[in-house]
């Protein structure tokens, strides 16, 4: 009797140890989500291993807060007439996540260079998980950055004008926009020959979008052609919508337009990024 039980025990253990453990069951979507989570975890671990990166990704936005609050702020009179710091913060949020999305390009480009993406291709993982994992990890980093900036903004006098729920909706909008931008920069990261090039390629795209916008100053002083560009390009639209949500004002139309831009960016860049990933990796 005892012998039989023992044999049975050994037999049940044997296949578990020797047979391949890969479960063939489970839905494709289920595995895609699990794989994304694995890649997110890897990217977040890397962020914690290089705390300097996380630290310095908040330093630049903080310097911008201080620069505009104390150096330029006195000379700028926001269109609404309220305190400049309240006007400023929407611009700072959007600018920070926009420049932060460069790291999606740099990170993917580095993975490509190191041969890591090639190794991923030989694994039975979901193809898209490399990209969804990277963009989701960058979303997590953006949540952190936006949190820090909110704190700094509060310290220099920023106050929520339209209530906490509206403010949180504004933050959600910024993060959604950041996520969409990450896909755009994923395309650049996968197209660039190396990570240094990815970085310098990203900058000239972002610079005009960030500064030719109502991020830091009202558009009324701009020439009319520039004003039209500033208020209709994605960063401008998202800044206007975020400002409406954080400072107060009519929200329906700007928020709708901003969401439209985010969805539009995703519709264009997700397939492009996937295509580029298939090609390069």
């Amino acid at each position: 009797m005892t012998t039989t039980t023992q044999t049975a025990a050994v037999e049940t253990r044997a296949p578990a140890d020797n047979a391949p453990w890969r479960p063939d069951g489970g839905s494709r979507l289920g595995w895609a989500i699990a794989d994304t989570f694995t890649v997110v975890r890897r990217n977040l671990i890397v962020y914690t291993r290089i705390p300097e990166f996380l630290f310095f990704s908040t330093v630049q936005p903080i310097m911008f807060v201080l620069l505009f609050r104390y150096v330029f702020g006195g000379a700028i009179h926001p269109p609404g007439g309220g305190p400049y710091v309240d006007y400023l913060m929407a611009g700072i949020f959007v600018q920070s996540v926009a420049f932060g999305s460069i790291s999606t390009a740099v990170g993917l480009s580095e993975d490509l260079q190191k041969g890591l993406l090639e190794r991923f291709r030989a694994l039975p993982m979901a193809r898209a998980a490399v990209l969804t994992g990277r963009t989701t990890a960058d979303l997590c980093r953006n949540i952190f950055v936006v949190g820090v900036i909110t704190g700094v903004g509060y310290a220099v006098g920023f106050r929520i004008g339209a209530g906490v729920p509206a403010f949180l909706a504004g933050i959600a909008l910024i993060l959604f926009f950041a996520y969409a931008m990450s896909w755009g920069f994923a395309v650049i990261g996968l197209s660039a020959p190396n990570s240094e090039t990815a970085q310098v390629m990203a900058f000239p795209i972002l610079f005009p979008l960030v500064f030719a916008s109502p991020a830091f100053v009202g558009v009324n002083s701009m020439p009319s052609w520039l004003r039209d560009f500033a208020t209709h390009q994605p960063i401008g639209v998202v800044v206007i919508a975020t400002r409406a949500l954080t400072e107060g004002g009519p929200t329906a139309t700007p928020v709708f337009q901003a969401l439209l831009w985010c969805v539009g960016l995703l519709i264009v860049f997700v397939p492009l990024a996937v295509r580029q990933y298939r090609r390069r990796a």
Binding site: P20, W31, R41, R42, I45, P124, M125
Partner: protein, 343 residues
């Protein structure tokens, strides 16, 4: 015996010009180690990339355990493991985290991944280093970790792309022992290498690859039969002396000697005995060699025997951080006058 890997007329051209594979065919029996031997740029890595589903072939077909590498790529990926010369593991993660990640991406349960990571770290002598980021690892440790990660899901077929290129002798020996251990476990291994010694030690069959083609295939013994078991290199003061010495030493070798510049290369069977005899002959002729070396045949010698020319040691493309003495070139001027003995 079933075939674990079948490559049939694989073709691959990069950028419309570089013909990496020009119709490569071979089969690997289940549970054996097969070596693809060839110089840099011969197409070995491309063959591995095709068979591991990383790139699609332009022509021909590949099957792993009966599954097509193009139409059933997903199935193939779940059966194979890949470890390569570039040790593509994440250097910011610890060894344990790397193995865990590859395990998860192979869709193993978390607890299984954790257990496998511990097991594999121990098996590859990395237990102490397991919780350190890879940045702190030496080259040999990285290769070992790469191999460990490739094994996490117990693949039936393992691809090793130049597993020891650029490693020092000790790390290379360690890795060889570990690879031999795998084979005892029944895993089929496809190994690419530039080192005849490595293919000889690990593989039961070898295909020699050059310019995207298999130019010879057989057991190591068959390939080496052509070469003689050992090579005797004798250096003389000048070319004339070398030619004269080659004439008298011909009787010692299994094949006519080769003269390059002032040195002679002679394939011999029983190394030490042939060496004594050669010295005796030289002494009797009052010829004094400046150098006298017995060595294992190298990839260079295999190539010479197969193609009549030496491997083109390209110095530009992917210059590997290599010893430069082991295996191939022996630091001898390749452009020496090939007035070659009586070949």
């Amino acid at each position: 015996m079933n075939n674990a890997i079948e490559a049939e007329n694989l073709e691959k051209t990069f950028g419309g010009q570089v013909r990496a594979l020009a119709g490569v065919s071979f089969t690997v029996e289940e549970g054996t180690v097969f070596g693809l031997l060839g110089p840099n740029g011969a197409g070995k890595t491309t063959a591995v990339r095709v068979l591991t589903t990383i790139v699609r072939p332009d022509g021909g077909s590949g099957r792993v355990l009966g599954h097509d590498v193009v139409s059933e790529a997903g199935r193939v990926r779940s059966l194979i493991g890949l470890a390569g010369q570039y040790a593509a593991v994440d250097e910011n993660l610890t060894g344990r985290e790397n193995i865990f990640m590859v395990g998860r991406l192979n869709h193993l349960a978390r607890d299984v991944c954790a257990r496998r990571a511990t097991e594999l770290l121990e098996r590859f002598g990395l237990t102490d280093a397991g919780d350190r980021p890879l940045k702190t690892y030496s080259g040999g440790m990285r290769r070992r970790l790469d191999l460990a990660a490739a094994l996490v899901a117990r693949p039936s077929v393992l691809f090793l792309d130049e597993p020891t290129t650029g490693l020092d002798l000790r790390s290379r020996n360690d890795l060889w022992e570990m690879i031999e251990g795998l084979v005892d476990g029944g895993t089929t291994v496809l190994l690419t290498t530039q080192y005849l010694e490595e293919a000889d030690r690990l593989a039961s069959r070898i295909a020699v690859v050059d310019h995207g083609r298999v130019i010879a295939e057989g057991t190591p013994a068959q390939l080496k039969a052509d070469l003689g078991a050992t090579v005797l290199d004798v250096g003389l003061p000048d070319h004339a002396a070398a030619v004269a010495a080659a004439a008298v030493l011909a009787q010692v070798g299994t094949k006519p000697p080769m003269v390059e510049g002032s040195s002679i290369e002679l394939a011999v069977d029983d190394g030490p005995r042939a060496a004594m005899e050669a010295l005796r002959i030289l002494d009797a002729q009052a010829m004094s060699p400046t150098t006298f070396v017995l060595r294992e045949p190298s990839l260079d010698d295999v190539f010479l025997a197969l193609t009549g020319k030496r491997t083109e040691t390209e110095t530009d493309a992917e210059a590997l951080p290599e010893d430069g003495t082991h295996g191939r070139g022996r630091g001898r001027a390749k452009a020496g006058s090939p007035t070659g003995g009586s070949r």
